[in-house]
Amino acid sequence: MTKTTHFGSNRNFGLSKAVLVYSDGQEAFATIHEAKRSPDGGAPYLDAGQPLTIDFLTQLAKGLGRTTRCEIFPPNILAYTPDMLVWWTRPQHRVMFYGGSSDGRSLSGKVFPQPPLVFKVCGSALSVRALGEDRRPQPNTPLMVAPYWNCDRQGGRVCQGSMRVPGNLCLAARKAWENAFFESEFTHAALGATLTAHPEGFLGLWRDLTGSEADFSVEYLITSGDSLRSFVHGREE
C-alpha cells in the first residue's frame, strides 16, 4: 500500500543527478550523472555519465515548472513566456479609485475614458504603458507613459501597494490583472515624474475627463522612450 503525507509545502528532496558541462571556451557539451553513495561511507560520487538529451531537458524543465501549455492566443496577446505575459487593450471607460487622503480623492469612484494600454506581467510585477493609436502595436511602435499615479515613469512598473494580485500568469488571467490595476486605489505620483502633457498636469487631465463619454485625448500622452520591443525585453536588462 502506498502511504503518503503532505503538509503544505514541506518537501524533502534528495540529490539524484548532476549535470556536468565541459567547455573549451568555444564549444561545450554536457553529461548527466547519477549521484551514488560511496560503499566505503566516504563522499558520494558521480556515476558514469550519459550525454544530455533533449528529452531529459524537457523533463527537467517540466519538473522545474517551466512548461507552457499549448494555448491558442487571443488577438490582443503581444508576448507570452512561462513567466511573462504582455497584451494590449483598446480604449475603454473605467471607474478609477483614489486614496482617501490623496489630492485625487474628489475624482475617486468616477468613470473616465482610458487610452489604449499595454500591460506587462513579469513574475508578479505589473508594468503599464499607453499607446498613441488604437491599433495593435508593432515591435518598433513607440510607447507612451501611462498617465496614472503609482506607475514608474522609467519602466512603467506599478507600485502594487494593497492591489490584489492574481495568483497566476495564464492567458486567462489578463482580465484579472486589468481589474486588479483599475480596482485598487491610486495614491501618489512617482516623485518628480511628469505623467501627462495636459497643461494643468495629472489632476487637471483627469478632472477634464471625469464622466466624459468621448475617447481619451491621446495628445495629452507623453513619450516614454520605450518601444514595444524594449518594453518587452526590459525584464532581461
Partner: protein, 368 residues
Amino acid sequence: MSAFSAMLPDSVASTTSLRSPARSIRDEDTVGACPPWLIAKGRSLEVPRLNRVPLHHCSFGSDAAAARFAGVLVELGIANPADWKHSSGEAGRFLQRTLDRFVCEHGETEIDGAFDLSVTLSTAPHEWCENEDEPDGSQMFLYFEAHSCGFVNFGPALALCERAHPRLPATFARVFLNGIGRYFRLYDHRDAEEHISFLEENYDPTDAAEALSALPNRGAILPPCMKARPLGRRQLKALLSGMALNDPVARLLKAAIGLQGMANGVRLPAIPIEIREVFSDCNAPVPVLLVIYRAGDAIEACFDNERQTMLELTPEPWPLIPFNGTDLDSTRQAFRYLGGALDVLAAARRVLDLAPGWEPIGREERRS
C-alpha cells in the same frame, strides 16, 4: 556545484604544479603512483566526488504547523516519540513514519494481498487541491484511493453455501457486500443493473436497436440462488451453531459476520459541502473490488464496459475523512475512522481467503 574534482586535467595545470612538493607514494598506489609533474596523466577519466555537496534539500514552509500536528499525534498515542530521532528532527518525515506504522499495525500485509490502494494524510483533500497558502493544520484529510480493482468470483462460495442451506448464498453475499460497502466502493450486481439502465435510457430505440437487444437481461444478472430471501440474524445464528467449527461454510460465514461487525462499529464522518463540491467534476471512486458470480457474467461485462472511462477524469478519493489536526478529539476520531477502514479491508481479506477459488492476485495480474 564546485566541489567535485576536475576531469580531463589540462597541460597548463600540470605545468604549474611543477613547484609542488614531492609526496610520499604508497605501495598500493598503482595508477596514481607517479608524481603528476613528471608524467602527464593523459586523457583518463576520474570519478568526480561530491565532497561537501549537500545531498538533501528540505523546504519547510509549514514546518511549525506540521510539528504542532506531530505533537497532537504523540499526545494521542498515535505517533511514537522515538520516531522523532529516526526522522532527523523533520516533522514531515515523522508524520510519514507515523502513518506507515499506523497502516502497518492495521493489517497492511493482509490488505495488500487483495486490494491495490493508497492512503494519504494531507492538508488538502486531493493533491490537485493544494494551494499556495501555508496550512495551519486545522483542515486536514485522510483518504484512500484505489489504483486498480480487486477481483473475486463468488460463484464457488455460493455453491458451497447453497449446499448447507438454500438461503445461505444470498445471506453470505449480503453480509459481505454490505460490510465492506459501508466504507468502500465495490462493483457488484447493483452497479451492473444501474449501468444497464443507463444504456437502455441512452440508446436510441431505432438507431441503436441492435445494441439495445444485445444488452444483458437484467433478470439474469444474479444467479438463482442469490434471489432467495437472506436469513435473519437469529436464523443464521441457529444454523451456524449446528455446524462443526471447521466446517468451511461456517468459517466463511463467521468471517463475513466478523467483517460486518467491524464495519458496523464505525460510521464515516460527514463531508462538508464545500469539500464535496471540490469533487463535483470528478469520476466516481475506483471500486476496490469487482464481485461476480460466474466467469463472464453480466456484472463482469458491465464492468469491462465501464472501466474504459473510469480514469477519464480524476476519480474521487474514497473514503475521505476530514478533520481538524489542531484538535485532539477530531484527530483521535479521524484516526479511529482510518483504523476502522483498514480493519474492514483486512477482515474482507480474511473472508476472501476462505472463498473457494480466490487467490491473492499479483500486482501485475490485477484488473485495471
